[in-house]
Amino acid sequence: MRLNDMGLQSISLMDTDKLEMQGAMAQTDSYAFAGLVDPEMPGQVCPRRTRIQLDWMLLALEALDLNATENIIVGLHELQLQPVIKNRVHLWQLRNTNPLRRFSQRQPLSLTEGKALVVLACYLARRQTSTIRQLLRADEQLRSKNLSAEHHFRLAQYLERFRGHFLSRMNANRTAIAPYKSSEALNDLALSLLGQILFCTGTAGMQRLWSSLFDGEVA
């Protein structure tokens, strides 16, 4: 992965201007995250399920769009999220807060960083709304005819890419990954993620995604 090479260089940079970043975060809070209410979480960090879910959704979005990596960077500029997510490396680090990753960082994901990932995911999802609809419709038609996903080129392509991303980035030794060993299970996961992403493309998609991430986690 390209991000890996650049990783060490900018980690030291991040610590130096942490204070500056916090000031900027407060500023970003006002416009980009409008409508995303902080849930009452102990320590103001995202729980385990939230981190996994966010990372997997971004994984599905990457499988959907070959240019996702570039679009993410464009999105960071357009959405003015740079105060929170500075660059690719920082994004990679945030995504690696997913405990099931091979290079899991064992670091917390703050609510602000979580919100930034939600905004980013919804931005990417909206660009792909028509594709997602097409794929879900195709899946439905194939199911009604009892055909496998291989009969639809784009769907098969998406599933294959997702499986590739998943297997290369997740830690196969983790118990939580064990149910996804077979390609059928991975296909089901990819399709359910696709359905979840579709719901994020709507008018209130961002709020819906954000609140669902804490479903059953608040008291």
Partner: protein, 258 residues
């Protein structure tokens, strides 16, 4: 003044008929729809729309909200379904969702669903909708609630559900499994042990008891050299023959220790 508002998406169309409360009829602005008289929800591919009033609208919005939230998070609600309200749940078989609308919420006679065709009045209308249709329903609801000129008091509360609300029965089952397993294994073990006859305690005959007493003086004799700090590992129950073989080791240890 009668007003009609339509929220139209490819797979779902919501139509609201109503009246404006405000007397001023601004020519340029959209008048505010404040009283709902008729609500219609049409899914692509269905023969007829669902027609009802405010109750149907409110109930449908609530069900959509819950279902979408559960669908994104994958966490099912533990709350029991209310038969008098619209229910929207993932289909038990295959993909898609099951929508169940109680007949009491529908306007009788206006909708094809509520017509009593064979003289049998169904308690509820059941539809199967796809994920894309549910998305369109959700989007139409979101557009409707975001529209300040249509039922401004209508609001959808999007918030995470509490831990208590999502405590599903499956979780309770999962939690009780280890306890049940423990209790069951204790029961099985108890049953197995029950059939094993209790061993009879045989008091050793008196003659045998006296014999070891004669050999006992030997072992104290062998014990003193082993009581040395250099070899504390020696077992007191060792047979005399062993103690004899182990005797050279304490003898060598004083030589090596200085």
């Amino acid at each position: 003044m009668p007003i009609q508002r339509q929220y139209s998406l490819p797979d779902c169309v919501l139509t609201l008929d109503g009246l404006s409360n405000s007397t001023e009829s601004a020519a340029g602005n959209r008048p505010e729809l404040s009283v709902l008289t008729r609500f219609e929800c049409y899914f692509a591919g269905e023969k007829a729309p669902l027609v009802g009033g405010r109750e149907l609208l409110d109930s449908l919005i609530g069900a959509t909200n819950t279902c979408v939230q559960a669908s994104i998070s994958g966490v099912q609600s533990a709350l029991k379904a209310d038969d008098s309200k619209v229910q929207l749940q993932p289909a038990k078989e295959g993909s898609g969702f099951d929508l169940r609308v109680p007949a009491a919420l529908l306007f009788q006679g206006t909708s094809a669903f509520s017509s009593t065709e064979e003289g049998l009045e169904k308690p509820a209308v059941e539809l199967h909708i796809s994920a894309v249709q549910l998305f369109d329903l959700m989007e139409a609801v979101d557009q409707l609630t975001a529209d300040q000129q249509t039922l401004p008091e209508l609001q959808v509360v999007i918030q995470p559900r509490s831990r208590r609300d999502v405590m599903s029965t499956q979780l309770v089952l999962e939690q009780s499994a280890p306890i049940a397993l423990g209790v069951a294994s204790v029961a099985v073990a108890a049953a197995a042990v029950f059939f094993i006859p209790a061993p009879k305690v045989q008091s050793p005959p008196k003659e045998l008891q006296t014999q070891p007493s004669t050999s006992q003086p030997l072992s104290p004799a062998a014990a003193p050299p082993r009581a040395n700090p250099s070899n504390p590992v020696g077992s007191p129950t060792a047979t005399p023959s062993q103690s004899v073989t182990s005797a050279p080791t304490p003898a060598t240890s004083p030589q090596t220790s200085p």
